[in-house]
Amino acid sequence: MKLLIKNGTIVNPKAGKGFIGSLLVENGKITKIAKGDLAADGAETVNAAGMIVTPGLIDLHVHFRDPGFEDKEDILTGLEAAAAGGFTAVCTMPNTSPACDNIGTIEYQTKKAAREGNGVRLYPIAAASKGLKGETMAPIGELKEGGAIAISDDGKPITDSSLLQRVMQYASSFGLMYVSHSEDTYLSKGGQMNESYFSTLYGMQGIPAVGEALSVARECLMAQYLGLPVHICHVSTKMAVDLIAYFKAQGVKVTAETAPHYLSLTDEAVGSYDTNTKVNPPLRSEEDRQALIAAVKSGIIDALATDHAPHHEREKNVEFNTAPSGMVGLETAVPLVYKLVHDKHITVERFVELFTAGYGIFGLEGGTLTEGGRADITIIDPEYQWTIDKNMFRSKARNTPFHGFHVKGAVFRTIAGGKTVYTRAY
């Protein structure tokens, strides 16, 4: 099967400046990249005029709830949602039931994705501690053999600093990095939203920004002390951004991600008492949002990750304090972040870097378009205007605060391993 993508602007930051050209895909590989036209020669032709053609995007932080909570999402629907969002690879977090802290669960996940999935690659991030309890180390070496690309207790920090040290050291012997959900759980206890004027106005227990910063500082100091890399999840505060900038300047191997919702919304949105605005870390202040935009621009934040956290509508249709935290993100990430390109905060090249940095962070194949390389390709129509409709999601879940948002920019087609896994119906 052959596929010819033509007339699109090929944005492949690793190979230099973008250009209008053609890209030929054969047998799952990119066989030719050329400026201008290529002969169709019997290939299915995709006219990408006015669009950008990029390496397949990676989401380095998703929750697919499988096994254990398949009413929220399962691996197959999660992979469909990823495809619809322009992602050709995802990294799944281990807070399933049972947790991804054993070889059986990790093999179940990788095999289900490979055998029954749509072709989007699934890379498990395995548990750092047994049962995600933060008490004893998970069998990290065996989990690596089962396909783990990193370890994390995401959803929770490792409170015990001694365990953190041992986890980081032990994992490094297997070439795995610790991925940190940075939170001070003493400071966030009972908290429902960011601590701010708005938590005062809405009468909600606040989660102070300093809690994230304290945790980020500890992780970075530990990484510095051990001479090991660390990755910081879902950075939401200016305080954390400033710390990461400091430690990067010190030469510490720290990488960081933020999520589209932290760039798009602030704590003011919680005033609707819509439980879909409840997320952990919480939506922060406008000052934090501005700092994050500056950080994705400057490179202090390396990557965008959605923290796709599906919940059943019934679970969210409760009193605010009772509702679980999290929102889905896969199918809204590209338009939400593309707004930064439209608003001239970042270039289209930076946009692509942010959504492909995960390959480099975890040492995975991908993130560039090369002749002979895997045909993981995302085609984005930057000008297409549409309204986000949660009922159109491929995900099982509907928990988004962005329902009804008018956006500009859409994923037009997603190609994973040479196979079209998503085409937008215009």
Partner: protein
Amino acid sequence: MKHLLGIENLNRDQIMHILETAVSFEEINQRQIKKVPTLKGLSVINFFAEPSTRTRMSFEVAEKRLSADSYNIAVSGSAITKGETLSDTALNLQAMAPDCLIIRHAVSGTPHMLAQIMDCSIINAGDGFHEHPTQALLDAYTIQKKKGKLDGLKVALMGDIAHSRVARSNIHLLTKTGSHVTVAGPATMIPKDIKKLGVEVTYDPKEAVKDADIVMMLRIQEERESGLMYPDRREYAKFFCLDEKLLSYAKPDATVMHPGPANRGVEIDDNIMDGDRSVILEQVANGVAVRMAVLYLLLGGSNS
């Protein structure tokens, strides 16, 4: 106006209209037969998902004096304790076609959620530490009776501001009507950026009370999930209790208020609470008239 969810979204005119309406209902409460047929045939559900004696009774008295059919849901006997979600309970109540639901709930925003699910009028009888609008209205009614106005007054509001719905509703109301509010308490009890609500902040109760027309005390809360906001009751009383000495900094004719239930000897000394400047029981009496006014205005009863 269909619902009363908070003071924040009311304007000054709406507030004054409620207070003016309450005057005529206060007159009814002084009659020998304290019952009028105003809301005859209308049904009102009192849904208190958090313990309450004063507010629940006050609403029930107000409803009965207006001849509404009132129904009480006790939490311990409700479907909530059998695992039904609040939205399902709300839909079931909705199916019985009430005209009004009075809701008290420990979670902020719950009345707003019910207002989206149900067709009837919703009155917020206190949500989390968000708002308690009828308390602020009855406080304002009491102040107006005592001082003849709601503007230009110096009000000291003291105690656990951070976790008080009474504080928020009173701050909204009194700043909208042009009074000057100073909040006081230890820093752990002052929520972030409260100044943006148009109040002054001090950690020194003497400074707050100085030249005050109104001294409003708040109930000290029990221990919260996030920990106790003060070392212990003895220490709190030593520095923040409204006693004779502290009250001497206020204007000689200052009025002392407390939304109840009070912790005698902790936030307010017995002789102040029972003294002649205290209007604590008048607040309770006025609460009935104000709630009658709110019910009347929301349910649009005719005076037949």
